[in-house]
């Protein structure tokens, strides 16, 4: 069992202050959950954090309205229907699909953007600020206006690409628009319609966060013969308007679009209209990685949120990320983001553990990562921040080499004796984890003892290097004991350390752990026999020390 660190507990005010100073702290990997209703992913309505996000919610609403208008402004046919599907949560809108099921006929009057938006501006927020869900918005074109119908499905499954926190940024950034326009020109150069006919083409475009990637165009199965007519130049604008709102999601995905092209009579060009567009999601993670993927997604969203809200200059120097976040990034990114390809050969231990995946791997990597020097940790966190915001492909060759060198060194540390600094950090992390997992046990023990409790590592940190594939801070290696018990256990281990010296082995360490367990287990995270009787403590210690003596006699020392 691994600790799930809730980012809700963190102070975003502090983060904002750090960003102002040129560096950023990103909250710990967050909670998640599949399906809906889900546990709260964003701030609770009415909380002070919720109030602070009012501007961001307003920005989300305006972005959604602008995105709708981008499509609706090109539709004048009376009776035409546009259907938009959003994931609405915490005031954030994430476009999942759009369709034009009815084409309409005859042109209605020209409408202004504001007349389109004003009614929706009033009616949309309640759907986005209550329970999270799939919001279907059906817009029907009438002669002088658009009529809107809403339906919120709170039982729909949560799509991983959706935002759960609002982002204080209206519209789409210029560089994203430029990239969309370039891709739109590429699409326009590829599609064509036969003279005097209508055809439908399918286009798929890869997205990762806001970044626009590869493009695939598929013609209809059969194309009538005759002269082909290319897309009119204004097709690019239509393309950008349709696709732009889809770029505001999270993570890797594709958007599949269906376009209908029609020869413009009397010209050598074709006109193109959107028929449907929807997000195509990558296959779900392997079952053992499902929880990691959700935690990673929550962390990634927070990093992206900061990235999109801050100026690039202010963000470039960010880099203070905790061990938990780095571990989530590495484990989640091992298979899916190409990190394995970068470093696999050079990191046999890391490769073996991360290929297994799962929450244990996250804990294991965190316990390994903290062994690196502060400078190394910070340097790696900076590279991770860059990869998280701009993609792994944004790392230069030099930076990729840096990642490889660091992970290679880390791989070696898995089998190296821990420094005193690393041990201290692991102890402090262990107590935090233990408290989070077993708050009631610790509370009860403190009540019974009227005093302190210690967290004990069953396999001591001194011998972690004998077990490179084991997470030394995993809960199965931690128990709560009163200080007197802890002292006597440590005395047994101290005796072993002193006697075995450099000749200590993994097998012996496991044997000593068994001896310690045999004589002290009755007090491991146990509320029945506390406080321990002094007589029993002495007897247990003496027996354990005597058994240790026999162990040494057995190996001829």
């Amino acid at each position: 069992m691994r600790v799930r660190r809730g980012w809700r507990a963190l102070s975003w005010v502090l983060v904002a202050q750090l960003l102002m100073n040129g560096c950023a702290t990103v909250p710990q990997g967050g909670t998640g959950g599949s399906g809906s209703p889900v546990e709260q992913r964003g701030p609770t309505p009415g909380s002070s954090q919720w109030e602070e996000l009012e501007e961001a919610r307003r920005a989300e609403l305006e972005s959604a309205l602008a995105g709708m208008w981008g499509v609706a402004s090109e539709v004048r046919e009376v009776g035409a229907v546009l259907e938009f599907s959003y994931w609405a949560e915490g005031g954030a809108f994430s476009l999942l699909s759009l369709r034009r099921p009815e084409w309409g006929r005859g042109l209605g009057s020209v409408l202004e953007q504001e007349s389109f938006a004003s009614g929706l501006r009033e009616s949309l927020p309640p759907y986005a600020e209550g329970a999270a869900g799939l919001l279907r918005l059906v817009l029907r074109r009438e002669e002088h206006r658009w009529r809107a119908d809403f339906h919120l499905d709170t039982g729909a499954e949560f799509p991983l690409e959706a935002k759960t926190w609002p982002i204080q940024q209206v519209g789409v950034r210029v560089e994203v628009l430029e990239r969309l326009a370039a891709t739109g020109r590429e699409v326009a150069s590829r599609v064509w319609a036969p003279e005097g006919a209508q055809v439908r083409w399918q286009v798929e475009v890869e997205l990762e966060d806001e970044r626009v990637g590869g493009l695939e165009t598929r013609p209809p199965r059969s194309l009538p013969g005759g002269k082909s007519v290319r897309a009119a130049p204004e097709t690019v604008g239509t393309w950008v308007n349709v696709l732009a709102p889809f770029t505001q999601g999270m993570g890797p995905r594709k958007v599949r679009l269906e376009w209908e092209g029609e020869h413009i009579a009397g010209s050598g060009l074709s006109r193109w209209k959107i028929v449907a567009a929807e997000v195509v999601r990558p296959p779900p993670p392997a079952p053992q990685n499902a929880e990691v993927a959700l935690e990673y997604r929550a962390m990634h969203e927070q990093i992206q949120r900061q990235w999109r809200e801050q100026t690039r200059e202010g963000f470039q120097t960010m880099g203070i990320l905790g061990a938990e976040q780095v571990a989530l990034f590495v484990v989640a990114g091992w298979a899916t983001r190409g990190l394995a390809v970068v470093v696999k050969a050079a990191t046999p231990v890391i490769a073996r553990m991360l290929t297994k995946g799962g929450t244990y791997a996250v804990g294991w990597f965190r316990s390994l990562f903290v062994r690196a020097s502060p400078a190394e940790k910070q340097a790696f966190a900076r590279l991770m921040a860059k990869a998280e915001t701009q993609g792994l492909e944004a790392l230069t060759i030099g930076e990729r080499n840096e990642v490889r060198a660091f992970l290679t060194r880390l791989d070696g540390l898995a089998s190296a004796k821990l420094s005193s600094g690393a041990k201290d950090e692991l102890r402090r992390l262990a107590r935090e984890d233990f408290l989070k997992i077993h708050p009631d046990l610790v509370k009860r023990l403190k009540e019974l003892l009227k005093g302190p409790v210690d967290v004990h590592h069953r396999i001591p940190l001194d011998f972690a290097h004998f077990f490179p594939a084991r997470d030394i801070n995993a809960m199965d290696n931690l128990v709560a004991v009163e200080p007197r018990v802890h002292r006597l256990i440590n005395r047994v281990w101290g005796e072993y350390t002193q006697r075995a010296g450099a000749r200590a082995t993994a097998t012996e360490v496991e044997a000593v752990e068994k001896i310690v367990k045999k004589h002290f287990e009755r007090w491991y995270s146990n509320t029945r026999d506390v406080p321990a009787s002094e007589e029993m403590l002495v007897r247990s210690a003496q027996k354990a020390l005597a058994e240790l003596e026999s162990l040494f006699a057995g190996v001829g020392r």
Binding site: R5, A9, L10, L14, V15, L18, T25, V26, P27, Q28, I320, G322, S420, G421, K423, D424, E425, R427, R428, R431, E432, F434, L435, V442, L449, K450, G451, P452, V453, D454, V455, H456, P460, L461, D462, A480, P483, R484, H486, R487, L488, N490, R491, G494, T497, Q498, P531, A532, E534, L537, V538, A541
Partner: protein, 214 residues
């Protein structure tokens, strides 16, 4: 004597905890407290500990907790007696009065090294590392003052800013503060702690503190 002792370091520590929203829990004072110099578990009781327990019978002070002296069970007595059952150092010659919560990082006074006023120095015992001893303060109140500086530094660290987690090492991170405790440095230089020093890390600590004297 204990009535006249003012624990300015303790007050500073409390103020630091309050300022930074760190755990601060002060139990009511103990009714019966050994007076300064009175024998407690076979050794003279430190005057500052006596003053401390007249102020509070156990406290949580940021990342340090003191052991209650009375109640249903006398925790101070139980822990110290329990630590001494095997008759080894540094436990038999010291009095543990608190620890870093949930960790085997203990703080103790050393009665036999009391100064002319009867004030006992404070040592840090790392229970994980062969009961390694690091002398940290010339008296209990000086320890509180030193610990308040440690906390002020700890809250500036990324672990605290991001996770409200104390990640800074004690006492390594406040070596410069210990080096300004003149009486402590003199005692270290004079080799008064040598009989408690068993590990290379302890020797290195003393050497670094002495070298860091401003």
């Amino acid at each position: 004597m204990s009535a006249r002792i003012e624990l300015a370091g303790l007050q500073k520590l409390k103020a630091v905890c309050q300022r930074h929203g760190l755990p601060l829990e002060i139990l009511p004072p103990a009714n019966t407290v050994s007076g300064p110099g009175e024998t407690y578990l076979g050794q003279p009781f430190d005057p500052m500990l006596s003053a401390l327990y007249r102020e509070t019978n156990g406290a949580m002070l940021g990342d340090f907790q003191t052991y209650p002296l009375q109640g249903d069970e006398n925790v101070l007595q139980r822990i110290n007696k329990g630590m001494r059952v095997l008759g080894d150092e540094p436990y038999v010659s010291s009095l543990l009065f608190g620890q870093v919560p949930l960790l085997a990082y203990y703080l103790a006074t050393v009665p036999s090294l009391a100064d002319s006023r009867g004030l006992q120095p404070v040592i840090f015992i790392n229970g994980y590392e062969g009961d390694q001893v690091l002398p940290v303060a010339s008296n209990v109140d000086e320890f509180f003052r030193t610990f308040s500086i440690y906390l002020e530094r700890a809250v500036l660290e990324p672990e605290f800013v991001a996770e409200r987690r104390i990640g800074l090492r004690f006492p390594e991170s406040i070596l410069d503060v210990v080096a300004r405790d003149r009486s402590m440095v003199d005692a270290m230089s004079a080799g008064r702690f040598n009989w408690l020093i068993k590990t290379e890390e302890s020797r290195e600590w003393i050497s670094k503190v002495v070298q860091a004297v401003p």
